[in-house]
Structure formats: structure tokens, C-alpha cells
Point group: C2
Chain length 156, copies 2
């Protein structure tokens, strides 16, 4: 589960050029092919690398508006609300949290006007008491993991 320097380099390399094969990878890393293969397998079975699914851009799909919604849930309605939100395609992720709200979800919509429809659909459910929404304007730091990987790899 600990990541060493070579593991770090493997992840960085894959992040930069995801389509390269194991052979090319081993050449770049200066190790034998079997080693690269074994390391990669280990990272995957460890769960450090979950997979290589395609990263789809919602904006390119026609959903350029992103928002975060904080929800307050009626006591005991948690499971129902979860199930409800899971059925809404525009809900990209959902977390239960401590703090002000009880849940927090990421939404996308086709437009600001469409966002209203999405919010209505999300909130129009009995167990949800209140919702407050923050619309995303800019995304100065897109979801990233590389800096964390580098930090983890150096702490060997």
C-alpha cells in the first residue's frame, strides 16, 4: 500500500501518456518489462489505481454548468434521499457530511435555466428539508491527483 518512487513514476507516466503500453513504459522507466508489469499489477490490485476509465467532459456532452448543492435531510430519510439522488443522471456525486448540511452533491446542467429544472428534480423529494446551491463560475484547479502522488512517493 505504500508507494515508492518507482510506483510514483509509473503513475506520473500513465497520467501524462495513458495509452502507452507496458513495454514502452519499461523503456522510459529504465527497468525490465516484467518489473513494470508487476508494479502496475500490484498498483491495481492494491486499489491505488482503480482503473483507466475514460474521463468524460460533461461540458462537451452539453452540460456546461456545474453546481454544488448542500442538502438538509429530514431525520431518518437519509437512505431514501440517497436512493432518489442516485436516479438523477445530473447528480455526478453525492457525499454525506458533517457540518452545516447533511449531504453535498455535485450537479451539472445544460444551462443556468436548466439548472433550475435539475434542482427542482433533486429537491422535489419529501425527505429534503432545505437546499442551498453554489454555481461554479471558474475551475482554477481541476480535479487532480498528481501532486499528491508525488508527495506520497517522496515519503519513502
Amino acid at each position: 500500500m505504500a508507494i515508492d518512487h518507482l510506483d510514483g513514476r509509473i503513475i506520473l507516466l500513465l497520467a501524462r501518456e495513458p495509452r502507452i503500453g507496458v513495454l514502452e513504459m519499461s523503456r522510459r522507466l529504465g527497468v525490465a518489462r516484467g518489473t513494470a508489469q508487476a508494479r502496475l499489477d500490484r498498483l491495481q490490485s492494491n486499489g491505488v489505481i482503480r482503473g483507466f476509465g475514460p474521463q468524460v467532459d460533461p461540458a462537451a456532452l452539453g452540460y456546461p454548468v456545474t453546481a454544488f448543492a448542500t442538502l438538509q435531510i429530514r431525520q431518518g430519510q437519509g437512505p431514501d434521499v440517497r436512493a432518489h439522488l442516485a436516479t438523477v443522471p445530473e447528480v455526478l456525486e453525492l457525499h454525506t457530511t458533517t457540518g452545516t448540511g447533511d449531504m453535498m452533491c455535485r450537479l451539472v446542467a445544460r444551462s443556468n435555466a436548466d439548472l433550475q429544472r435539475v434542482i427542482d428534480r433533486v429537491v422535489g423529494f419529501d425527505g429534503i428539508v432545505r437546499a442551498s446551491t453554489a454555481i461554479v463560475m471558474e475551475n482554477p484547479v481541476p480535479l487532480r491527483i498528481i501532486p499528491l502522488v508525488e508527495q506520497a512517493a517522496e515519503e519513502t
Copy 2:
């Protein structure tokens, strides 16, 4: 930029089995290899598929705690704050938003105690007036895109 049914199936297939090649893909889809190739190329140059970077699990790297922080920024300090947050590896993403706060970021940490350190580092910057943090307890809906892709593909 519009996604048709075949594009949708390609994305779904890639999401399920990211490592399959174009040839195998064309067999599963029942189309010629060239077609699958062309569609995939198009999806990528369209920006619909951004890439196939490894999906790294922060928890497996030793960062099992996730939190969302809402930040209030002093007037005109936005760019400085952005630059500051970009240097913190534990900041996985950053958005500027409308609503209560001015920015919202996703953080990870090694433990609840370590989260304090991360927050101190994030907030210990001049342009940040106030921060409120919500710690994630559960993640009933992990970041997903498939339902949205299916919806987009059906609206042909």
C-alpha cells in the same frame, strides 16, 4: 459534439473494460474496426473523452479523509489565493462559486487530526477571510458520468 447511440455504447464499453483495444471494441459493437477507430478519435478530439488517465484512489495512497471547504476571500485577492491553493497537494480541486462563499475546494488528509494541518495550511494565507469545512463521512454516489452519457446518447 452531439453524442449518438454508438458513441454512447463506446463510452460505456470503455468505462466497463478500459483496457480493451480498438479491434475487440469493434467486435463487441458489431462495426468495422475503422469505424470504431474513427469514432474514438472523434470523441477524443471533440473533447468528450479527455483521456484515460489512471484513476488514483487517495485513500489507498494513505489519505482516507475527504472534506469540502468553503472559503471567503478578501476583495481582489482571488488570483493570489488560487495560486496559493494550487501549491497544496492536498487540495484536489478548486472552484470559484456564487453563493455563500467565494471558493470551494476539495481536500484530503491522512486522518482527522491531519486534516487540521491541511486546513491550517490552506487557510493560513492572507487573502482568506473565513473558511468552513464539511468532512465527508460517506460517499453514496462516487463520481460518475455513465448515467449522464446514457441520457445524452438517447437524446439523438
